[in-house]
Amino acid sequence: MAAYCARRLVQSLLILLGVSIITFALLYLLPADPARQIAGRSATPEMVASIRHQLGLDQPFYLQYLHYAGRLLSGDLGRSYVQRTDVTALILTRLPPTLVLMVGSIATELALGLVMGMTAALKRNTSVDRVLMVISFVGVSAPQFVLGILLLYVFAVRLAWFPIGGYGSLRQLVLPALTLGILGAGWYARMMRSSLLDVLQQDYLRTAHAKGLSGAVVLLRHALPNAILPVIAMIGLDIGTFMSGIVVVESVFGWPGIGQLTWQAIQRVDIPIIMGVTLVSACAIVLGNLLADLIAPTIDPRIKLR
């Protein structure tokens, strides 16, 4: 187990190294010249050249990369040329709202998805099962901005049950968390359905039935715990979808997290911020995958460690 953890950790670090090389290469290929952007429109070629020298942009690719990697290691994601502030500081101030939204939407999608999947598995091959699976299909086929605007229109504009947007209270969290939660639930519902169906076919459940336990006891004590755990371990793999979703959902609901920061950066073509968020998201995804891989064998000892 220890060797497995160590190996997965090294693999994750290597992937992060690769991620940093790719993001740097993208920055390097960028047609926009940062030196010119900083110097402003009226700058003479000499001024631009001197800023370029100051920034080290006249050095060869690998030296620039080493420089960049060194700065990343000390937590420096560069400077926004538009907002003229450190990207790291910007992301850190925007992180708490995003984490709140993350907790809210993961709780929603788990609650909805597990209940839907469980119902579908227990009512297998009935019309209830089919309707639930169609709903879960609609969930993976609807873009977040369409559902977001729909919820906003019905529950904030028409019914005025919830505020139109903003951040600070639980009521403001409901609609954005529902948007991400409803769409994510489809995925969990399918996983939960097949996981529970797998468990229900196992011999030990037949034994439990045979020794006279009631259906409810067999389900609650013997089937569900084993069916739910592998699904919950999937949260780690779901982080990529979440990081993509927040850009849209936060901009629709005016939620001041890193998704909205990214959206604002897109409008102003503020590449350092977009890059910073991409890098942070990639780290979150690698971490999520690592946790999923480390948790899975703890939950299910039958999983072979590679």
Binding site: L14, I15, L16, G18, V19, I22, T23, L26, L29, L30, P31, R124, V134, F137, V138, V140, S141, A142, P143, Q144, F145, V146, I149, L150, L152, Y153, V157, R193, S194, L197, G240, T241, M243, S244, G245, V247, V248, S251, T262, W263, I266, Q267, V269, I271, I274, M275, V277, T278, S281, A282, I285, V286, N289
Partner: protein, 282 residues
């Protein structure tokens, strides 16, 4: 043929197929179908106060903020969505299949390098990577398709890699090799034919993903650029008025969901039909 017949027997898949055929037909015949030029700002397309016209009346799905006919824009938007969906997904499946087949068949350090690169790409959130690429290259229709393809091939590569690897170890491939068949001959006659069904499934399911990605990029303003209509950018242009003119957001929204859902339903049915291992299991 068997596949088509089985597809017709599944109600949901048939429904999806009908939606796809209708959308393709309408998109192909767009110039004949539309009542107005989708980019023309009609002289009677706005109310006296300058607000868009609601559905019903002369323009039967209403008009947008600039007084353009929404129905015509939706029809031309279908063209954009399908074009990008099919081109981007075609590129993604081709690239993913090529990488997967090469890695799975050649093996060794080539496989290690290719699959580690694939793992690396998995670490990027698709939408954010697409945003970065769209910001780096100025977006046109083809660039958007290319950007979407560049972030969508990864899944295909992984699946095809696993399948090719498994196939290359099977006895019938072993037997061919023993009889002296060349590597390319084995690849062409004995491995690729077995990958066709997987590619068909991903070719269908993937279109749904690329249609959604295009809509999202266009909604963020970095996908297809106005005045070319796309379902995503119709919503992007009109979203500030969704309170007073909800049809401008919801009609294109319904179109996006219907098309993505249709490809998902057909793709899922195809997977069921083509994968005999899974049949009857759940």
């Amino acid at each position: 043929m068997r596949v088509l017949r089985e597809l017709f027997h599944r109600k949901l898949a048939l429904l999806g197929l009908i939606v796809i055929v209708l959308t393709v037909g309408v998109a192909l015949a767009a110039p004949e179908v539309v009542p107005h030029d989708p980019t023309e700002q009609l002289f009677d397309g706005l109310t006296l106060e300058g607000a868009p016209l609601p559905p019903g009346g002369t323009y039967w799905l209403g008009t947008d903020l600039l007084g353009r006919d929404l129905f015509s824009r939706l029809i031309y938007g279908a063209r954009t969505s399908l074009l990008i969906g099919i081109v981007a997904n075609g590129l993604a499946v081709t690239l993913g299949a090529a990488i997967g087949v090469i890695a799975g068949y050649v093996g060794g350090w080539v496989a290690t390098a290719l699959m580690r690169f694939t793992d690396l790409m998995m670490a990027f959130p698709a939408l954010l990577l697409a945003i970065v690429l769209a910001a780096v290259f100025s977006p046109s229709l083809w660039v958007v398709a290319l950007v979407i393809a560049m972030v969508s091939w990864v899944q295909v590569a992984r699946v095809i890699y696993a399948e090719t690897q498994a196939l290359a170890r099977r006895e019938f491939v072993e037997a061919e090799r023993a009889m002296g068949a060349g590597r390319l001959r084995i690849l062409w006659h004995h491995i690729l034919p077995h990958l066709v069904s997987t590619l068909l499934v991903w070719g269908t399911l993937g279109i749904s993903t690329t249609v959604l990605l295009e809509a999202t990029l266009s909604f963020l303003g970095i996908g297809v650029q106005p005045p070319t209509p796309s379902w995503g950018n119709i919503i992007f242009e009109n979203q500030t008025y969704f309170g007073s003119a909800p049809w401008l957001v919801f009609l294109p929204g319904i179109a996006i969901v219907a098309l993505a859902l249709a490809f998902n339903l057909v793709g899922d049915a195809l997977r069921d039909i083509l994968d005999p291992m899974q049949r009857g299991q759940h």
